[in-house]
């Protein structure tokens, strides 16, 4: 066999193995969601049969329509969008700012402040929920979106993640900028910050997910039902008496798809890399 033919066969095997692995993993990770997806299209047939039926016998979209009719889904969607955008912007900006002095700049007390910031991660306190609620009320933020996002606007996780990435930015680049006459702010804005884009993208995804799925805190801070975000609205589909699981399934699909879409399109920010930016 010729060398290139051998290589071709090796490649085919490699691709087959890779895709088989990917598909198996795909099913492993998504099986609950697949069942939910299937249930959301089912008509008046039994849901909890054994073995479970993956393909609906009479597929219908009536569940999706029902969701929009029974609860103000569009309104809840908008609320969630507002809360999430606010939350993501705040979290990413504040973490990117706070992490820089803790990673790069040289000042006294840098390590002490960093250790102090890490500390709360190690002290879980259940009563924080109620104490923060009282604080939010005192700040006049009861029943307001800002009250929902403010307590989680600064996350230790976010600062820690950004700090680790700032540490991997080549110091020579920053020093070169300084020699070129940039002041400290410009060094951050032109060199360090752009180079940690993979981390900011990752943080954005985590912040998006956390806020999109938040349930308990918005429920406590918001009083008006027409300000409720998606997860709270979703809870309204299962009353004590009947949980029409098909409607719940449809609502779960509607609530989940945006995160997946956001994830799909944000990928390129933390995959493409920063090769282009290294040019002197």
């Amino acid at each position: 066999m010729t060398h290139s033919k051998k290589k071709k066969i090796r490649n085919i095997i490699k691709y087959t193995l890779t895709y088989t692995f990917l598909i198996i993993m795909g099913v492993f990770f998504t099986f609950p969601f697949l069942w939910i997806l299937s249930t959301s299209f089912k008509g008046p047939e039994n849901l909890f049969t054994w073995p479970p039926e993956w393909i609906p016998k009479h597929p219908t979209i009536q569940n999706y329509i029902a969701v929009f009719k029974r609860i103000p889904m569009a309104r809840y969607f908008l609320n969630t969008l507002i809360i999430t955008s606010l939350g993501v912007v705040l979290e990413v900006i504040l973490a990117s700012l706070a992490a820089y002095p803790l990673a790069r700049l040289n000042w006294k007390g840098k390590n002490i402040v960093f250790s102090l910031i890490l500390l709360p991660m190690l002290i879980p306190m259940q009563g924080a929920l109620i104490v923060n609620f009282i604080t939010i009320i005192k700040l006049g933020l009861y029943n307001k979106y800002l009250g929902v996002v403010l307590p989680s606007a600064v996350t230790i996780f976010g600062i820690f993640l950004m700090r680790q990435h700032y540490l991997s930015v080549p110091k020579d680049l920053e020093d070169a900028a300084r020699i070129d006459g940039c002041n400290e702010f410009q060094v951050w804005w032109k060199i360090s910050f752009p180079l940690v884009r993979p981390a900011t993208a990752a943080l954005a995804i985590f912040a998006f997910t956390a806020h999109w799925n938040s349930f308990l805190w918005p429920l406590i801070v918001l009083r008006d039902q027409n300000k409720y975000p998606l997860q709270v609205g979703l809870a309204q589909l299962s009353s004590v008496f009947e949980a029409n699981f098909r409607n719940v399934a449809a609502a779960v699909v509607i609530a989940t798809v945006p995160i997946l879409v956001f994830f799909y399109f944000t990928q390129k920010f933390f995959i493409e890399g920063y090769k282009g930016a290294i040019i002197e």
């Binding site: 039994n46 849901l47 029974r70 109620i130 009353s239 008496f241």
Partner: protein, 415 residues
């Protein structure tokens, strides 16, 4: 001049007292399913009381305790809150609820079944208005009965019969006979077994009757007549809906779930009364209305609560949901219901059956029933549950389980 001032004061007083009061009213997971009913009930009240406005907020059931706790702690609490009995007792024990005795008359109180009212009485003070109730019934699959050779018109009447039928079903069809919702404390109380001695100092439940009752479950588990995952009423519902369970002893409210999620099974479902134990009590799941102590409008709140829990509006609720009223005037007085049963409405049949048994209904969460001090209740309940389940799973012998539980409960009581 004097007369003018008196007139002026009188007119001003009318304005002061005619000021509109707004009450915040929380319900648990009733929206949007019962929007029409609640809104009609509120509109009726506002018409009769033009100076009171109701602001209705519906709260998801599983986050209610945390939301209410935060609201009371922050002094932003509602005026009337819908809670189940255990939560009402918990909040009352913490001193967070207003006592109702000064706010209502003896006539008002007499509208409700005594046992239900007394569920939330602590140290002689009343803390909640009983609202809608659900009691367990026996739902069974007539199709499976027929296939196993059992007469679908002869449902089991005692637990021994349940076991007997289950053996037949297991042998003939190879599926589970029944799935109970096992709460050790409740099982003891339903058999009339006292938990503590009258002076409340020692455990009193380690009796031959208790062992017999425990052995019932041990045998059911050993012979694999009930699912070994012990998933309670949630799992029972899923299995019954899948046609994998012949008998489903569970609350009335489960019927509507089955109707919606498994219409084929619903068609072949029949209902029978829940088997009664030696204590001659039926366990009731009761919802109540309470008034947080932080409310500035307690009198108006009480007025509204009486309206919501009035016989008229509770009977009306039964037209929307599979529940029964907590008032002595029940569904038997309603012609609408008699008609529905005549037409073959299964839910109506079940509700009427339940309404007739309400005189035996007891809320097992009530301190007056289990007689365990509020601060020891959670611990005693957990100790009993852990050992009960361990014995059922065959991890220890029933006699040993009750003996060990007795020891630990005594330790808790001694603290």
């Amino acid at each position: 001049m004097k007369r003018f001032i008196v007139l002026l004061v009188a007119v001003l007083s009318i304005f002061v007292f005619a000021k509109t009061v707004t009450l915040e009213f929380w319900t648990l997971s009733l929206s949007p399913t019962f929007d029409d009913y609640i809104k009609a009930m509120i509109a009726d009240f506002e018409k009769q009381n033009p100076d009171i406005k109701i602001n209705w907020i519906d709260v998801p059931y599983n986050a209610a305790v945390q939301k209410l706790t935060a609201a009371i702690a922050a002094r932003q609490a509602p005026d009337v809150v819908n809670l189940n009995t255990s939560w009402a007792i918990d909040f009352a024990a913490q001193g967070a609820l207003a006592s109702l005795d000064e706010l209502i008359t003896a006539q008002d109180k007499a509208l409700y079944w005594d046992k239900l009212w007394n569920s939330t009485v602590i140290d002689g003070k009343s803390y909640a208005f009983p609202w809608y109730a659900s009691i367990p019934i026996m739902m069974y699959n007539t199709d499976l009965f027929k296939k196993a050779g059992l007469n679908p018109n002869q449902p089991p009447e005692t637990w021994e019969q349940v076991l007997m039928y289950s053996r037949i079903i297991k042998t003939k069809l190879g599926i589970y006979g029944f799935e109970p919702n096992i709460i050790a404390l409740d099982e003891l109380l339903l058999e009339g077994i006292p938990i503590l001695t009258p002076d409340g100092k020692k455990a009193a439940f380690n009796t031959p009757e208790a062992i017999t009752r425990l052995k019932f479950f041990v045998n059911a588990y050993k012979e694999n007549l009930m699912p070994r995952s012990l998933g309670g009423y949630t799992e029972g519902r899923e299995k019954f809906q899948a046609g994998q369970l012949a008998m489903y002893p569970a609350g009335l409210t489960m019927l509507q779930h089955i109707e919606k999620n498994a219409p084929n099974i619903y068609k072949v479902t029949e209902v029978a009364p829940y088997p009664i134990g030696k204590g001659k009590m039926i366990k009731v799941s009761l919802m109540n209305l309470v008034i947080p102590i932080t409310s500035p409008n307690k009198a108006a709140a009480a007025k509204f609560a009486l309206h919501v829990t009035s016989p008229k509006w509770q009977i009306e609720f039964s037209n929307y949901a599979t529940v029964v009223p907590s008032t002595k005037q029940g569904l038997e007085t309603s012609k609408v219901f008699q008609d529905r049963v005549a037409k073959g409405d299964l839910a109506a049949k079940a509700m009427l059956m339940a309404s007739k048994s309400m005189k035996y209904a007891v809320d097992l969460n009530a301190i007056t029933v289990h007689k365990i001090p509020a601060d020891k209740y959670a611990d005693v309940r957990k100790i009993l549950q852990d050992y009960w389940i361990a014995a059922i799973k065959g991890e220890i012998k029933p006699e040993e389980a009750l003996a060990k539980a007795e020891q630990e409960v005594n330790k808790v009581l001694a603290k």
